[in-house]
Amino acid sequence: MTPRPYTLIAELTYRCPLRCPYCSNPTDYLAYKNELTTEDWCRVFGEAEELGVVQLHLTGGEPLARKDLEVLAARAREVGLYVNLVTSGIPLTRERLLGLAQAGVDHVQVSVQSSRAELADEIGGYAGHARKLDVMRWVKELDLPLTMNVVLHRANLDEIDELVALAEEVGADRLELANTQYLNWALSNRDVLLPTREQIERAAEKAAPHRERLRGRMDVLFVKPDYFGATPKACMDGWARRFVQIVPDGRVVPCHAATSITALVFENVRGRPLKEIWASSPALLAYRGEAWMQEPCRSCDRRAIDFGGCRCQAFALTGDAAATDPACHLSAHRASIDTAHAAADAGGQARRYLYRGKPPNEGKTTP
């Protein structure tokens, strides 16, 4: 039976003023020039609602780069979707934010790179931290729910207390402390970003009491990295199961990194209704359910819990997208992750990020 997707992740554009070294966009993001039109997206939002979607993430890249964002938010709200705006907050004025709230944005998620302005701007590759603080305050002044999202890695993982304090100060309703997932740009920067195992344990210990203390006022989420555990994460709650994602050029994918699996051909909403693509696209059927599984996944007790982990990570680290996720202790390739961790524990690489928006060799990590 075809599963019901509850969430549509609409990547409106890959344009973005920030250049975060863990960006979830594809490393060939510059090739996505042919963005869907306003009319395309408006039609797709209706098709998504018919398919069962209730949550919409307007994201990117930076969704604010789309001049029609207000129209899109209004259309999404009109068909009954809960509209999450996932943004860097750059560039945004209070007037535009008010317009977006009036158009129908239900919730705003703002990314923050660090509690310290100087480091935040270095990580983001853009002097935007001060403005982000303004944006978060505006969100609360307009009485919109606010999530402050921080992607955690070696350079900011020791800031848990300061990040919680910042989230409290701006009045966030949710704080996502999400460890980097090493795909796309983050995989390119893995040796610089990967923290020590001790850092992760300490950060988790620091986050737990804040979560208890703030229960009911602020939802504090600390997402442990899959590299750290013995079993893989239930990536996207299973391939093409609960989440449907559309990339800027209109192709329907199951997640942020799926286009990195080079053998898969994803169908485009320009050519076919979303419902048909969801039900029968060979790329979405490829890893939906359990039929694709090999050993040790095929006979594993956890196969309905973690779905074999992340297909994109399996492909990136083993060359076989149907392999067990190397984050699993049962994977024959687990050593590739343990080796990376050991290198991080031994001191890691100097903080020289490979930024998007720069030629491949400039800023490249050197030993």
Binding site: V54, Q55, G80, D143, R174, R215, G216, M218
Partner: protein, 93 residues
């Protein structure tokens, strides 16, 4: 922590939207990046969490709507449901 008792007047927060899901024909509370599917009993309570009635009044109304249902047990259910909303940050405070 907010105490949920008979006198407490619950109201769904700004971030929560109560919605009839036309696909499953069940009510849901949708909030940032999450959704909560409600059974019929929970939906009946949620619809009354609009800032105009106390927990005791909600329980009395539900008892009246369902003849023979014990009011005390219903009040316990309302307290439990509203406490869950509180823990998820879905109440206006």
């Amino acid at each position: 922590m907010l105490v949920i008792d008979a006198a407490f007047v619950p109201r769904l927060g700004r971030k929560a939207r109560l919605k009839l899901d036309r696909h499953a024909n069940k009510y849901m509370i949708i909030y940032p990046e999450r959704g909560l599917e409600l059974n019929d009993a929970a939906a009946a309570i949620a619809k009354k969490c609009d800032g105009s009635r106390s927990v005791a009044v909600i329980a009395a109304e539900l008892a009246a709507e369902h003849e023979g249902a014990p009011r005390d047990a219903i009040e316990q259910d309302v307290v439990a449901f509203v406490s869950m909303l509180r823990d998820k940050g879905l109440l206006q405070v």
